[in-house]
């Protein structure tokens, strides 16, 4: 077993309304920034034990599908690095 660091980035699917992102964009525009769009998401870091990078990645994908992300509304990317 080896230790791996994984990073999961969860974002809303492109067509889904993002009230927090919209509110943030509006405030940024009020502050004078030329912002077209803001989308909020989650950045999750995990440390886990696995036999290989591919096994670690498979495990993290499973965790993401079942808990970390809401597949109905969100998409995600997974990156795994050996420690």
């Amino acid at each position: 077993m080896a230790q791996f660091h994984a990073t999961v980035v969860v974002t809303l699917k492109p067509d889904i309304l993002d009230p927090a992102g919209d509110a943030t964009a509006q405030v940024l525009r009020q502050m004078g920034y030329l912002v077209d769009d803001v989308r909020m998401g989650k950045h999750i870091q995990l440390t886990l034990e696995a036999e290989s990078v591919s096994e670690a990645e498979a495990a993290v994908r499973q965790m993401t599908e079942s808990l970390l992300a809401n597949p109905v509304m969100e998409t995600y990317t997974v990156r795994v690095d050996a420690s």
């Binding site: 492109p14 067509d15 889904i16 309304l17 009230p19």
Partner: protein, 723 residues
């Protein structure tokens, strides 16, 4: 694109071609698909619902508008209505339930009323996935209601395997308005501008009404419907609500319609049809969240937090300035025209032309014969069930109290803000909500109840009994009934059996409402609650609204002092059909409805009894029967108090049937010694049975027949099950 892609049959497509005198283009077909869907057209239920009684002394607006309205006093009117968001909540529980709350609130706002309360009526399965669904739904209701500042004041929840893949999420909202701020959708006139207010339009919930809410689910098909999930924004909803109601108060809005199912299509068509006008719509002006939305997407998007106003051109600058003040978008997207045609433009080209009348009223609707309708009253016989093995009374009382349909629901309602707006006199820890109106002693009572087991074998009896129980709870406070709203939830209407079940439920509501003389001022129908051919139990959710002359001191629903005598008013038959106890012990038999005319007399008598001040405490008997009513009257009382009950039934089996029957129009009352003679005389005079039950004691426990007893702690532990 073909008819079935938008959920229409070939027959319906042919009807469209006949109306138009040509084939519709894709956009036009999409509009028909949405408005001729079950959800929007009520094509299978309109012939049934029109038979419900709609007239009453307090009715200001009946069905047909965005919500029913009743008069409370010369200064106040109340808009209230129930809506379902069943299918969206199954696909995405949090947002499905949240947008359900937002949706019904906009219906109330569209009547010019300020929402003051929400109630939620929920049904879930019993498996672990249903627990997750429930958690999501409850979170969604709280998330929206709490954030927008409308209290969730009462509710109803029950469980059965039948709801595992078709949970029910029905939300009822209540709003207040001054009579002079009355608002409707039927007052648009040629020359008015059509102003779209609120959220930018995005690709949300396209075909939500026609596909999600109007077809059965097949296996995992809902996965492919998921990208259309709508997201609610309660903070924007609050701005939209405040801006809209301010514009209404200032007299700047000529006609008002919310955008709900089928979005802009439905809003424009309903507004035009009810006003007898047409419209030009300029879709290139609609503010968008995404680029590259087609005319089709814009017309059918179910993006939340939007309202449509008809505004006189000279008022438009005021409306725009008000929207700017609230930091929300208001955009002129069209104009009202003579005639009935809606012309949809993109720049200078016409994208489609349809009549509002065709969209709203053209859909071929199912009719039923008078004979068939009457025959729905032929019901299963109410032969008393034979209890084969007599269960232990001691254990059964605790099992029933601990049953998910009976137990304490505080784990749900603690997640809701039930007191914001400071009107809540009684909140979700009571069977009904009592709300005060701020400048008067007059208040409102909101009583909600839905069927489950009651309607499983006999939808007619269950639905009628739900109306009677909701009204019994108003009577327990001496409240004057103002009106009813009904949410009908059933399976696929194309199947004869499901259709018959739904119709029987509507017939039950009709007969009960007529017998009780309470008008039905509006409601909702959700069909196709069916997955893989398995329909839900036909389920009727009832909301009854009453007026209380003094809302500051409702008659208690728990006993208050030692020495008070307990009576059972209008004892039901010795029959526990449809009851929780029967379900716990040995399965199900049909619900014993009894005679509706007799129930009406009992309700009237109870209302007057309470108004005369003869009752020190009253509780209507509902789910869990007499035993549960007694336990709950004790659990809310000072801890030193107890009850000594002596049942007049002779056999063990009869005693069980007495304690657990859930027959309608029964109450437990506590009477102080000094008025016992008056009380007994009163019930003799009105000819309704008053049966002695026992006394309030100082024992701190519930005792039956000096033989079985439960300590307060035992009852409380059973009733307060976690989750």
């Amino acid at each position: 694109m073909q008819a079935r892609d938008v959920g229409l049959t070939q027959t319906e497509y042919a009807a469209i071609c006949r109306l138009m005198g040509r084939e519709p283009n894709e956009l036009e077909l999409g509009l028909f698909g949405a408005l001729w869907s079950e959800h929007c057209s009520y094509k299978n239920s309109r012939a049934l619902l029109k038979r419900l009684p709609h007239e009453g002394p307090y009715v200001v607006a009946g069905p047909g508008g965005n919500a029913g309205v009743v008069r409370v006093s010369d200064d106040w009117e109340v808009a209230f209505k129930i809506e379902s968001h069943n299918h969206p909540s199954y696909v995405e529980p949090v947002q499905g339930a949240a947008t359900g709350v937002g949706g019904i609130l906009r219906d109330i706002i569209a009547m010019g009323a300020q929402p003051i309360a929400v109630a939620d009526l929920l049904r879930f399965g019993t498996d672990s996935q249903s627990v997750r669904l429930r958690q999501g739904v409850v979170k969604g209701i709280g998330q929206y209601g709490n954030a927008i500042g409308i209290p969730t004041v009462t509710g109803d929840v029950a469980y059965s395997e039948t709801y595992a893949q078709n949970p029910l999420v029905n939300v009822l909202a209540v709003g207040l308005r001054r009579p002079e701020h009355a608002m409707t959708a039927n007052t648009a006139r040629p020359g008015h501008l059509l102003v779209l207010v609120g959220q930018r339009t995005g690709r949300d919930g396209i075909h939500g009404a026609s596909l999600l809410a109007s077809q059965d689910f097949q296996g995992s098909e809902h996965d492919t419907l998921r990208p259309t999930v709508q997201v609610g924004d309660p903070f924007l909803g609050k701005l939209l609500m405040d801006m809209t109601l301010t514009a209404v108060e200032r007299g700047w809005v000529a006609a008002l319609q919310d955008l709900g199912a089928a979005g802009l299509t439905s809003a424009v068509a309903e507004l035009c049809d009810s006003s007898g006008v047409g419209a030009n719509l300029w879709l290139d002006r609609v503010p968008l969240r995404q680029r590259q939305l087609s005319s089709y997407d814009i017309m059918l998007s179910e993006t939340q937090e939007r309202m449509l106003m008809a505004v006189e051109p000279e008022r438009w600058p005021d409306v725009r300035a008000l929207a700017d003040h609230y930091e929300i978008l208001a955009t002129v997207i069209g104009e009202v025209t003579e005639g009935e045609m809606i012309q949809i433009w993109w720049d200078s080209t016409v994208q489609g032309t349809v009549s509002a009348h065709w969209l709203v009223r053209g859909c071929p609707r199912r009719d039923v014969s008078e004979e068939w309708w009457r025959a729905l009253r032929h019901r299963p016989t109410e032969a008393p069930p034979v209890i084969t093995t007599i269960p232990s009374l001691r254990a059964l009382v605790l099992d029933v109290l601990a049953h998910p349909d009976v137990r304490d629901r505080s784990f749900i309602y603690q997640q809701y803000d039930s007191t914001i707006q400071t009107r809540t006199v009684w909140g979700p820890d009571h069977d009904v909500a009592v709300l005060r109106l701020h400048d008067t002693r007059v208040g409102l009572v909101l009583s909600v109840f839905g069927t489950g087991q009651w309607a499983s074998l006999d939808p007619y009896a269950g639905a009628a009994a739900a109306v009677v129980l909701a009204a019994s709870r108003l009577a327990a406070l001496g409240a004057e009934p103002l009106g009813l709203t009904d949410g009908i939830n059933a399976g696929n209407p194309d199947k004869e059996e499901s259709f018959r079940q739904m119709a029987s439920a509507v017939a039950g509501v009709q007969d009960a409402a007529e017998a009780l003389r309470i008008p039905v001022t509006g409601g909702n129908v959700s069909l196709h609650n069916e997955t893989d051919g398995q329909p839900i139990w036909p389920t009727v959710m009832i909301g009854a609204l009453g007026r209380l002359d003094d809302a500051t001191k409702p008659v208690p629903d728990c006993v208050g002092a030692q020495g008070h005598t307990l009576y059972l008013v209008n004892p039901g038959p010795l029959h526990w059909g449809g009851s929780v106890a029967e379900r716990v012990v040995e399965g199900a038999s049909p619900y014993p409805l009894g005679d509706l005319g007799h129930h009406q007399r009992a309700l009237e008598a109870m209302t007057q009894f309470v108004r005369r001040g003869l009752a020190q405490a009253v509780r209507a008997i509902g789910r869990g029967g007499l035993a549960t009513a007694l336990a709950r009257m004790l659990l809310g009382a000072p801890p030193s108090l107890g009850m000594a009950i002596l049942l007049s039934e002779s056999t063990e089996s009869e005693k069980l049937l007495r304690l657990f029957n859930e027959g309608p129009a029964q109450w437990v009352v506590a009477v102080a010694p000094e008025v016992v003679d008056d009380a007994v005389g009163y019930w003799q005079a009105v000819g309704i049975e008053l049966r002695y039950l026992g006394e309030v004691t100082q024992s701190g426990r519930l005792e039956v027949d000096e033989r079985v007893h439960w300590t307060r702690a035992e009852l409380l532990t059973a009733w307060r099950q976690p989750g």
